[in-house]
Symmetry: C2
Subunit: 414 residues, 2 copies
């Protein structure tokens, strides 16, 4: 135990933090919130509360971009201060706190560019089979983290409703326009960029981790019928750009340090990546042990008093490339990342159906609907359905931490 | 002649404006510049000069996003004021002016999101043949303006050098990493968004034009070898994201009003777009008569004292979809556009080789190199090559206007 802020014996005078599944004092994720009637400001989640950093004399800019740009040293210094201020034994300052349920949570950073990768190999195989039965995994897949530019403007924080998109879909008598019929979620991690790089100056794989400010959950809502018709040859566009939901707290590399694990060895016969994507330290500790879940609550279940139903349980270890590899690849052509930019990992599915991170996979393209408590079924999402993603890191000898929910309710099409 | 600012008899006390091929007083495009040692500020190009709007008592924010958000009424009011201040007969104020060659030109807006379309049908056919010989134009092409999200961070103003990207390319013995060997330009128009739309609220085709703040030239630099290996299934990524160059002046819809033409009728047998993409007024006057050219100057030509060589002459009328159709389609799923967002039209090629807007097309994928004055040839771009795009609008009875150059020199790979 080199970092005292991770000491499992550490408790907080914020009582709800002690034993909290997501936000014990060992987590201390960063976000931006508005108290009732107040302006947006930087905060730290602690139990059921938010610490107003300015009230505690630790004001940060909101959104957090300029702070994220400062990198690990600034994050660590802040973390040490906040940990000391919130620790049991420090003078309690309840006036620094707001109840999370009473505040509005915003995006933590102004996201200049959003890039979505495709690094969940089980998803790439399962989804690839549906779009390209003969050719699910394309020849490039194992050589580079395939990715594409996403839409930054329509990224919303957890809790924002998501309107079902209208769009153009193929049909036997030609394309038609109307509400998407095959609306889906995708279970992903988001990666926030800290310090950026200048245009033309790639980030080497060995220093890529230093450019990562933290992690969140990301629901890459997808309209499969729109996507299937539009996506060739230039990739997903309107089938994705109507909304992307993220959990609003940036969980830092410092909080996640105990949960670093080796990247899973590549199966026998898989190619070793080229040197610009290969770093022994990254392979040794660049992956994350994070349990990831998807929960679904339909209006029918809500009316019947039923609890959300877990429709998928996966794990971040199923990523075929590490976040550092994504950063190195992204900048290998000189492309500049800016503080606050967001990367999505791609859908993180496990190898078996119960771990599939999208309905496209878990219902076999809608052919085998999910059965839900109360007797309903779902091939794809219906209006009023709520999707909640969760993440939890556990390791023997450490206090588990979570990300908080990444939730959205589907509204009817306009 | 309803708009007096377009009167062909109108002349300016800025002598270089009278007869200027790009920036006569009938143009008055908006930009952001820094005078030597000064901070960025808003300006208007006039002849060889830039009018400092603040000096003239007409300060605008720089970047221009908040002004673009105000829409046509604000643009028209500014245009009338600037036209009156710069007209022959008004009191000359040379102290309001800076020589363009002495200032630094910046991006005119902070570009939140950049979307690149593919609406040049001759390009789509010619390029499609090279990537997919059996299937150049995919089934969706004529039904919707195919597009994808581009990278906003690496958009640079004319004059910024462009570093040749390194990247991963396929090879007989597996992929390798190194400098792109097939570096190309793409001749496009850029479309700046003015007033935005709220997430979830599409912009109908009939009001789409009101959301366009103006136009620029756009060079969608492309590394064909990187692109060919990476682009399936999610589209172009690092083959494009190393740089996109735009001309730094926003040429307004008001200045381009005389050069509006009907959208070319679709060839017999082509489908009529669905109603959300069809507006009679847009079909009647939504296209632009704009001559577009690509010029190339190699280090060898420069050393020999040769002038840039025109390698392509095309026209904006070759776009298969109008800018308004792009806006309507982009927002049809509820995706929000923000003021200052940029759309690229896609490469605007004509039907014959002399009008091809990329080397991929005009050299048949590199197999038939261009012959240049002085005896050099080019299959793709070499280090030190300078590419300059130009645009000029002409119509009988009106003063022609241009966009200014969209130029970049290729630097060697890092």
């Amino acid at each position: 135990m080199t970092d005292p802020t991770l000491d499992p014996a550490l408790r907080s005078w914020v009582e709800s933090a002690n034993g909290h599944p997501d936000f014990p004092i060992q987590n201390l994720p960063l976000g931006v919130f508005s108290p009732p009637g107040g302006a947006p400001r930087a905060g730290v989640a602690i139990g059921e509360m938010v610490l107003d950093l300015a009230a505690a004399g630790l004001a940060l800019p909101a959104p957090l971009n300029a702070f994220l740009a400062e990198g690990a040293a600034a994050r660590r210094a802040l973390r040490a201060r906040v940990s000391a201020l919130l620790a049991h034994g420090a003078t309690p300052h309840p006036e620094w706190l707001h109840a999370q349920r009473e505040v509005t949570l915003h995006l933590p950073a102004q996201i200049g560019d959003y890039t979505d990768f495709y690094a969940g190999i089980h998803h790439a195989v399962a989804a690839g089979k549906l779009f390209r039965p003969d050719n699910p995994l394309l020849p490039n897949y194992k050589h580079l983290p395939v990715g594409y530019h996403g839409r930054a403007s329509s990224i919303v924080p957890s809790g924002a409703p998501v309107r079902r998109p209208n769009g153009q879909r193929a049909g036997a008598e030609g394309p038609s326009f109307g509400p998407a019929q095959r609306l889906d979620y995708e279970l992903e991690l988001g990666v926030f960029i800290g310090p950026g790089n200048a245009l033309g100056e790639p980030i080497p794989i060995a220093s890529a981790a230093a450019h990562i400010a933290g992690f969140c959950l990301l629901n890459d809502w997808s309209a499969r019928d729109i996507q299937a018709w539009e996506y060739q040859p230039l990739g997903p566009f309107l089938g994705k750009s109507f909304a992307t939901t993220i959990s609003p707290w940036i969980v830092t590399p410092e909080a996640l340090a105990p949960f670093r694990i080796p990247q899973a060895p590549r199966p026998e016969g898989d190619p070793r990546p080229l040197p610009y994507l290969w770093d022994e330290a990254d392979q040794a500790a660049g992956a994350l042990a994070l349990e990831l879940e998807v929960w679904l609550l339909t209006p029918g279940m809500r009316a019947a008093g039923l609890a959300p139903h877990r429709v998928a349980a996966s794990d971040a270890r199923h990523l075929y490339f590490t976040p550092a590899q994504m950063v190195a690849h992204h900048t290998s052509n000189g492309c500049n990342l800016r503080p606050g930019d967001l990367l999505g990992t791609g859908t993180i599915s496990g190898p078996e159906r119960a771990a599939y991170g999208s309905l496209l996979e878990s219902t076999a393209g809608g052919r085998e609907p999910l059965r839900l408590p109360g007797g309903e079924t779902r091939a794809f999402l219906e209006d009023g359905d709520e999707v909640v993603l969760t993440a939890r890191a556990r390791r023997e000898g450490f206090v588990p931490i979570g990300f908080g929910p990444c939730a959205g309710v589907v509204l009817p099409a306009a």
